[in-house]
Symmetry: C2
Subunit: 187 residues, 2 copies
């Protein structure tokens, strides 16, 4: 008989089983995520996200791919065909912080009734345009405000925020220098 | 009379005007991008992306917000409600590299007939789960293969790839340590 204990929408029995399996067999923790992107025109392009490798095998749970369109607003020479890439980065950061928080709260037996975040970040286009070598092309800083309601003390919430900030894969990718290699496919 | 000269879907006259305006008034280059996210349940949450500040004013070009849903696959305790945050990060990286490439090719008068990218990146879940302090929670490395067809030499394509890699705001954000502050909103 399958036992289920759901907290914050997370099946905590399966979560503990997953953690125990990884402790015994660390290679189960190794994941490879993927995307394919195609340029349309101007600042518009679209990605297809489908399979990935993880928990020791190719995943086959997705019946159809996810499709997303990058675009640019008029002030950046586009027609708002989609959010732009630096905005998608904020969406990724928000989601990853949130899910890391929820997983850890569930592991600690804390019930969350509400959670939302607001993000903003500064970019100086002189970096992208190569007008000033001292200006980095990317975000100078990203600020996140979290609104959380939970059945625990303020101190426990602060501790969960600290955990999520340090352990979120997307936030960690942004916070430390990650190697990105770009190569031309054989023409 | 408005003059238009379109290359790769980019209005290069407006592009040059934008660059000249920023050279004269560097504060026009300052942008602030934003997102709002709300947790649904488990590993599912959604973002609303709408206004931003840039070119000296609040943008009002978007008539309705962009909405995106983060989800997780079953192996990560979800039901594929959406792509997951680390996959959205790849979509952001792909789009930003592509648009940076296209803008620079257009500035150089190079016509691109086709461009696509394939991305993959490694994540070891022991970081997220705090099972091994020596394992970073984020991407260990992100690899991007670019397929480009253009009316220029292979060397010029290599040079554009190098430019795009160094000047893409998302790639630069991933490649260097960017400060992320996370604070609790007043409860």
């Amino acid at each position: 008989m399958e036992t289920k204990k759901i907290l914050n929408g997370i099946d905590t029995v399966r979560m503990v089983q997953t953690v125990e399996a990884i402790k015994k067999q660390p290679e189960l923790a190794r994941f490879e995520f993927r995307a394919k992107n195609r340029w349309d025109t101007g600042g518009t392009n679209h990605s297809k996200i489908d399979g990935f490798y993880g928990a020791g095998r190719e995943d086959d749970s997705r019946k159809k791919p996810f499709l997303f369109t990058n675009g640019e607003p008029p002030v950046l020479l586009g027609n708002n065909e989609g959010a732009n890439p630096v905005e998608f980065l904020l969406h990724a950061a928000a989601g990853c912080l949130t899910t890391t928080f929820i997983l850890q709260a569930s592991a600690r037996g804390i019930s969350i009734s509400e959670m939302s975040t607001e993000l903003d970040g500064d970019i100086d286009l002189r970096g992208l345009l190569d007008l000033d070598a001292s200006v980095p092309p990317g975000y100078k800083e990203i600020r996140i405000k979290m609104n959380v309601k939970a059945d625990c003390s303020d101190r426990e919430i602060e501790d969960l925020i600290d955990y999520a900030k340090k352990h979120s894969p997307v936030l960690n990718t942004i916070s430390r220098p990650v190697q990105v290699t770009v190569k031309r496919a054989a023409p």
